[in-house]
Amino acid sequence: MSTLNINIGDLQLKNPVMTASGTFGYGLEYADFVNLADIGAIIVKGTTLHHREGNDYPRMAETPSGMLNCVGLQNKGVDYFCNNIYPQIKDIDTNVIVNVSGSTPEDYAECAARIDQLDKIPAIELNISCPNVKDGGMAFGVTRKGAAQVVKAVRAKYHKTLIVKLSPNVTDITDIAKAVEDEGADSVSLINTLMGMAIDIERRKPLLSIKTGGLSGPAVKPVAVRMVWQVARAVRIPVIGLGGIMNANDAIEFFMAGASAIQIGTANFIDPTVTVKVRDGINQWLDSHNVSSLTEIIGAVD
């Protein structure tokens, strides 16, 4: 039995399998299918300072080996989360991490500050790369300056583990990664979705209500692995890899590229038990290859 536990900053994971924000609800939606305590960390849905209705329907389009979405950060706001959701999830016996979005460095920071008060939330993931809302931080996520600005504001108000989720829609993702590392981020997670579009040729209209959306699923895996590999070599903080992971072999590909942990997103829609299957599969792979600890294969590809 190999050792699967790994630390991300002060965050201690019993295993490296996390759920990607926006694909696992608040965890509770999956409680009938998996034992939530078996998952290394549950990153719950994107939370903003104020209530957001999100974008109009349709918000989803299926694409070859993937899907586009433009949910647009629908959520009831951080206070509702603290008062109504947190009490329901705080006793889940694993790490519950909140994904935080915003429109200005100030509301990112204010939202983070309120979550800082919640004992049972050991970390947040800053979404500076949501492609689906005009003011969803994508603007911050694609420039060195913008990314640094948001992380600096949040770091000043947030004292636990700070993960920053990076956008792949940039020329040089290592440049953004270094900027957020310099501002005190404890970890970076990548990749967020690739901005894409699909058209209904019969209606001669985009399939998504806001025309473009974020591409996820196995289709993007090669781009994600490449970026994880680049970033892992550019920063000292741990990298969390995601993008099209469907099984344990995919996860191991990310570890070898340099990821210390991984997130599973779209795959949850096809198999709600995939998180636990991936955890078990990683274990079996490590055992069958006589690897005693996950850490031995992290960054195996130089």
Binding site: G22, M67, G217
Partner: protein, 257 residues
């Protein structure tokens, strides 16, 4: 209600119509409680361009044979691949999903209106009503006589009225033109079918102040309320059709009627 992911055994596959396949599934254990109007998320194997599960409404639950019936319209690659299922195959499904229709009091006069593949969930609902002592009336619309499915089964559970666009069976025209709507008054309507049809039925119900529920078919990814892709605008804001629905009281919706 607890949700399950199971590999159900395909016991029978039949083709009641060139565009429909009826798949009867079973399991070693007794099937769990399933409410009329609920749906399942089907995993499609061996389709090159089908990535997500396909939501399929529950057509019927045959408790005597421990069978779950899915009546599937073969519209795209995913559903065409499902039509290739053979007895003995296994189908991976998530179920039961969604809220289901409200079961009215046993004295309610209830009209079940269906069009196209939308008739599927009304069969199971009709049986439940029948068993509860209601006398449901089914009003089923189709393009032609030959597009009306499972009529004999519907007749076991209540009176069946039909409209066809070409008049080949029942009254000619659309369901909302059927004379019964002028002759009889109903306390409840449940409707499933193409959106234009549901909207005109909703309009009729509104005008006549009849409690009316419709079953929506918004595109879904997860089917369990996690991804927020299948939302419908309601008086409470955007809600997931897969979780808060698929059945909605029309007064909850923001349709322009």
């Amino acid at each position: 209600m607890k949700k399950y992911m199971k590999n159900l055994l395909v016991e029978e596959v039949s083709f009641p119509h060139q565009r429909y396949v009826l798949v009867k599934l079973t399991d070693q254990q007794p099937l769990p409680d399933i409410l009329p109007g609920q749906f399942v998320q089907v995993k499609v194997e061996g389709a090159t361009n089908t990535f997500l599960r396909r939501p399929i409404s529950v057509n019927y639950v045959d408790r005597n044979n421990n069978q779950l019936w899915l009546l599937i319209q073969t519209v795209g690659e995913g559903t065409r691949t499902l039509a290739k299922l053979k007895a003995g195959d296994y189908l991976n499904i998530l179920f039961p999903l969604g809220n289901g229709f409200t079961i009215p009091h046993t004295t309610a006069d209830i009209l079940l209106v269906g069009g196209g593949v939308g008739v599927a969930p009304l069969l199971y609902f009709g049986e439940r009503l029948h068993n509860n002592g209601n006398k449901p009336v089914f009003l089923l619309g189709a393009r032609t006589n030959n597009d009306l499915l499972q009529i004999p089964m519907f007749q076991q559970f209540g009176e069946v009225l039909v409209t066809t666009e070409d008049g080949s069976l029942g009254e000619k025209g659309f369901v909302t033109n059927h004379s019964v709507l002028g002759k009889r008054t109903f306390s409840h309507i449940a409707c499933c079918g193409p959106k234009p049809m549901m909207m005109s039925v909703a309009r009729y119900a509104m005008a006549n102040n009849i409690h009316c529920e419709v079953s929506l078919e918004n595109m879904m990814a997860c089917g369990i309320g996690a991804c927020l892709c299948c939302v419908e605008k309601t008086v409470k804001g955007n809600v997931c059709v897969c979780k808060e629905g698929p059945v909605f009281d029309i007064r909850q919706l923001t349709w322009e009627l």
